[in-house]
Amino acid sequence: MKRFIAFLIALVPVAAFAAGDGFLKGKILKLDGNESVTEIGGSSFSLTLSGISNSKSLSLLDVERALEKVVDDDKIAMVYINYDHFSASVSSIEEIRTLLGKISAAGKPVVAYGASLGNSSYYLASAADRIFLHPAGSGSLTGLGTTQYFLKDLFDSLGVEIQLIRHGKYKSAGEMYIRNDISPENREQYEVLLGSLWSTIAEEIAASRGLSVEEFNSIVDNLEVGIAETWIDKGLIDGLKYRDEMEQYLCHLFGTTDPAEVETVSIRDYISSLKKGPSGKKIAVIYADGEIVRSGGDIVGEKLAAQIAKVREDEDVKAVVFRVNSPGGEVVAADMIRREIELLKAEKPVVASYGAYAASGGYLISAACDRIFVDNTTLTGSIGVFGMVPALGGAIKKVLKVNVVNIGTSPHSGMGTGMQPLTEEEKAKYQESIEDIYDDFVTVVAEGRDMEKTAVDDIAQGRVWSGKDALTIGLADEKGTLLDAIDYAASLVKLDKYRISTIPEKKSFLDNIRELKNGESDDYDPLVRFRWLLEPGFHAMAIMQYISL
């Protein structure tokens, strides 16, 4: 009996170790720094002075699906990230970090390596269980910031007059043209916004590295990291390795000294092996990625509205996830999309998932969705309207020595030509339109979010909020990744197995060639960018452009 007990006692650690499997078995999933991750992914063309450049990117959805599969895939033993040159938005990195955390919690190591670290690459790398840096590498952590440019003096010297008509003291887009410095409201907005975004980033990094947020912020505020050794001293990385040493380290994890015995699979190849799921039952992911315009741009209102209508008619689509990554755009175009989402929601569940930004018009089109998922670092809100009217007549006279004369049948026939400023009467009329549009916007949000209009007005005023703060003030419902939104949509229609279809689909290299050859009806018109100067719009572009990480 005693021998039997002794045998059992001895068996416990043996069983534990044996099941721990000793060295790793399987393949390494490689996330190469040269990959960029965008919302839709695919191939994109650009014509440059040196020729045609074709760049490929992975879609965030594919990356998330791949990482989620790794958790339970016995063939993948670990994940290796080369963080150099990795390109993705802050919110995409936030979502990728969430999934890397699940992989790590499942006992599969995540190891990161590179030669230079910055705010963005370190935010990604910090999700790893081990971070290594090249001994000659370096980097800096500088926190979040924004640089703004104010052009009033320049415009005054040129004789250009810009009239900004808006509703929302925080609607800062356009201030750069009429002010020489930042307004107090805008400064307050940015300080709160940047503070919120940074707090998310700092908390996550600190938690990953076993530091307190104060310790981490002190490192950043005092510029305590630079050359490679400083990163180790501050506990932000785990070691310095040359590339061959890194290779040997990975071999060691697999119990070998021969790199030929360690198999790797790139995330691109792994994505291509993902199963599509059964046909017949689909969850559609509709992307609104970019600025909303009536023609010639990223999101053409009428075109996306037509695509949404098709999804509504598709009986195989049981639920929809509306993935929004838009700073807003033109009123009419945004409303076309909003209306189609409203019709779609009447027939099928529509869940919104926000990317880097879903602000202004981007928020309008999705406010009525059944549930809104955000990332803490999403920029959202900016519920406000503005319009800008340039008066270039003075500049043309001053600079080009050309006199502009307008003759018309009514006192207001020169309105909208862009040559003369609005009169007080015209300005008042314009303001009325702006107020009406703002009221409509607030109404849409109030109805969509089941809030009082006054409550919406309090948090609107054109103010941009982080996703984290949006959860607190009622503009969003849940923090979650795109996959979380899809899972939620599936749960609403009780689907266990389904196929995900994306609209629009990724553009392939051949699609780009065809467009180049045949042209598109929405071919980019450089002058369309100036339309927003004349028409009211929902724009939060200024914020999005200038926050850098």
Binding site: M1, A15, L24, L253, D258
Partner: protein
């Protein structure tokens, strides 16, 4: 006591689960502490798919021709062959298909109740009563052996067929009878020799030495009495 056993048994059962729940960071710490023993690199024997080998094999075999009525009519009859050139296809390192060009000499020795004789410049066989006379018949042939070979380490197994083209034949008669002094040899026209012969063979080798078995389904002499079939056992050197 029973409780202790139950608890320990439960621990053994859940231990694998406990191990699998270790966070990845802890797991990495364990892995980093473990010692890796470098394995000896397996010598990879690179092989060419197409190989040409001269003088690939030599062999010596004993014919067995004493079936049925031919019992006791033949003395030790042998064959010797050597390869001039072999062309092999090696899709993998352990299987090959080869064809060669061999030179083969066969010697058939007639015993006391049998005799090779030359009649009308051609070989024939006679039943004879002269116990002092012994004769033999030799042929020289070109052969084309085609074989499928499997190699498992040092062991080799092959099987195939050999196509035999007799080129020249010769008889020799020797008599011990003093008065006759009939020690002569003659080259025959070879008309009686079966023009196209073949055999089926199988070999078993270890490293370079092997044994072979050949089965000849056709008689060596077409019209003269000769065993319809015979077989040969022998040894060979495989220098491939």
């Amino acid at each position: 006591m029973k409780k202790i056993i139950l608890i320990l048994s439960a621990l053994v059962a859940v231990a694998p689960g406990l191990s699998a729940q270790t966070p990845a960071g802890d797991r990495l710490s364990q892995l980093e502490e473990m010692v890796v023993v470098a394995k000896e690199k397996k010598q990879e024997h690179k092989h060419d798919v197409f190989q040409i080998n001269p003088l690939a094999h030599f062999g010596y075999g004993w014919h067995r021709l004493d079936a049925d009525v031919y019992a006791d009519r033949f003395g030790p009859s042998r064959e010797v062959f050597f390869n001039t050139i072999t062309l092999g296809i090696h899709p993998t390192s352990w299987v090959s298909l080869s064809a060669g060009l061999d030179l083969k000499w066969d010697k058939f020795k007639a015993d006391e109740s049998y005799m090779f004789a030359v009649v009308d410049d051609d070989i024939t066989t006679l039943d004879h009563a002269f116990s002092s006379m012994k004769s033999c018949f030799t042929t020289f042939s070109l052969t084309v052996p085609v074989a499928l070979k499997f190699e498992l380490g040092p062991l080799g197994i092959s099987a195939g067929s050999e196509f035999i083209f007799p080129m020249k034949s010769k008889t020799k008669v020797r008599s011990d009878y003093n008065t006759l002094n009939t020690d002569f040899s003659a080259v025959t026209k070879g008309g009686q020799v079966t023009k196209f012969q073949y055999d089926f063979f199988a070999t078993l080798s270890f490293e370079t030495i092997g044994v072979f078995f050949k089965y000849y389904p056709k008689p060596v002499l077409e019209k003269a009495p000769f065993p319809e079939t015979h077989y040969t056992l022998g040894i060979y050197l495989d220098l491939n």
